[in-house]
Symmetry: C2
Subunit: 379 residues, 2 copies
Amino acid sequence: MHKMFALTSTDSGARRGELTTPHGRVQTPAFMNVATQGAIKGGLDARDLKTVGCQIALANTYHLHIRPGDELIRKLGGLHRFMAWDSPILTDSGGFQIFSLSGLRKITEEGVAFASHTDGRRIFMSPEDCIRIQANLGSDIAMALDECVGIPSEREYVKASCDRTFRWLVRCNEESQRQNNTDDAVNPGQALFGINQGATYPDLRIEHMKRIAELDLPGYAIGGLAVGETHAEMYDIIELVTEHMPSARPRYLMGVGTPSNIIEAVARGIDMLDCVMPARNGRHGHFFTWGGVMNLNNEKYAADDTPVEPTCDCPVCRAHSRAYIRHLLKAGEALAMRLAVTHNLWFYNSLMSRIRGAIESGSFAAFRREFSDRLSQRI
Amino acid sequence: MHKMFALTSTDSGARRGELTTPHGRVQTPAFMNVATQGAIKGGLDARDLKTVGCQIALANTYHLHIRPGDELIRKLGGLHRFMAWDSPILTDSGGFQIFSLSGLRKITEEGVAFASHTDGRRIFMSPEDCIRIQANLGSDIAMALDECVGIPSEREYVKASCDRTFRWLVRCNEESQRQNNTDDAVNPGQALFGINQGATYPDLRIEHMKRIAELDLPGYAIGGLAVGETHAEMYDIIELVTEHMPSARPRYLMGVGTPSNIIEAVARGIDMLDCVMPARNGRHGHFFTWGGVMNLNNEKYAADDTPVEPTCDCPVCRAHSRAYIRHLLKAGEALAMRLAVTHNLWFYNSLMSRIRGAIESGSFAAFRREFSDRLSQRI
């Protein structure tokens, strides 16, 4: 289980590797396509996920525990079968969602009590509960329960929180081993990743990373970023933390980001990322292209008969014009959202593919220079 | 153009035929899949339409005139190219929408003035305008502008309205011939169908049908039904009117209906139908099956691991369980709607295919006995 990751080459700080999971291999750096509730936003199903080049889907522990319930999903054979996706799945622990979506949360040493965002019902989740839920889902990678502190936060609070998140991680790790050793485990090869926290305090980030690295987990994530800090602050923290992440383990930067953020994170040694931007920006008519971000609501596309990106091989660019997509956006047709998410996920997965190719050929620095700024500009 | 329809066999009142259009042939009886604004509800695109077995799509003159504008679509090569659908398209005239969606309408001999349902802007549409718009769209079949009177309506009003709708049809026919003979017609083979009206007055329905039949148009429709009358009243009118429809011309029953309605209409000699039910009912979680209509919101499907219809070959039933679809409905995921519309359109198109097979093999009466009641029951 600990040998799930193989680093195959490095180039200008970027790492090229391969992740092996019970449901197949993932070439890294990889973008995880977000299926929070067991479905991709915009109406894509598991077959479409294959089409857009997704290697690994990300679902959410908090959401699936609340609805339809992890016990139900276990009864139905686990999340892979439930959502008809036979490739790797990572489940986020729900830490971030508990702190961003639910009300009335109360954190104690034992765990976190919160109100469901759907019906207000009180729920308690201990680190052990969090792992049991993910064991029921049967994802390939489970994330430890953490407290995702806001930025900015008081240093003393962050320090105490990091200490507690570390103690929770120890409990998650013990529960994960217990769950994998039960006779009827849905996915006995489930790996546990620990999550680094520490807000923007360099010493707390480093200290926390060193402590969790000692647990020798299958992988490590950097959490609590992209929550209000500047890009420069985020990059500084990634640089600080990756220095103390075990190089033989995959490094997952949670919830990041724009194409430029991804290139910059990869340049600092990140192997895995996830973000809701392909769907969220798609909903607003923003399409990612190799020339920058195209806003198809713009009047100038009203009679534009060309595809979003003429050189793109995605099903959207092969079939539909900017003018048609703009019409769908203006008319409020569900198809607009589906086309946007399809194209944007294809773009993100293609971006990762080109990043991997650049690392392999030793041209990542040139790739970064060419695209890092350009991809996030508005066109 | 007048020879677009070939009647190939009949059985127990039902007709089996073939419609030839500039964009291909349509086997009848046929269900037209509704793409009001140039897109199927639920996020299906033109490729998905092929997948669900659609032979002919239906778009709306009123909607496309208002947004994005028929002149724009003409500039972009016509509606087929705009929506990337290279098979037949029928455009509804907008008569029904003007009378159901828009406010402040005023009917004169010249045409109808109304307020756009999107921005309240005043629009005037004459019969000639209506045909010019459809010529710009370049559909294969254009529908004449009619007044769709409500049921019930005063006899005197209906009589005067039928007379005016007849005079409008004469003007539509003249304009249609002019448009098809222009040098730069988008689709010079566009056929015009006339629409029978007359509310529930048998003599007005018959008189109107006789008059429009004399124009020797490529096809005829029965309009103004499924707007408040009972099923028995609707079937009576269909029976009355079809008796006076030229048997060598296709007969289109507009806006109908449930699977049972369709079987009953076909039994009375109808060749073409359209309805928004596959999408509208799908949105509410209602799935059409050969055993009846299944409401997937029902608690009893929460842990049901079987497909909606185990014998169905549609992409939804081949991949997804009732439990997963129910979860998507409860979670408000766009995918629920897409799966519902995909399955329901597949079902409607399969229903027509089985109806055609039954007519060909002389077993339509038995088919009707077996399914007419069953298909609309709630299960």
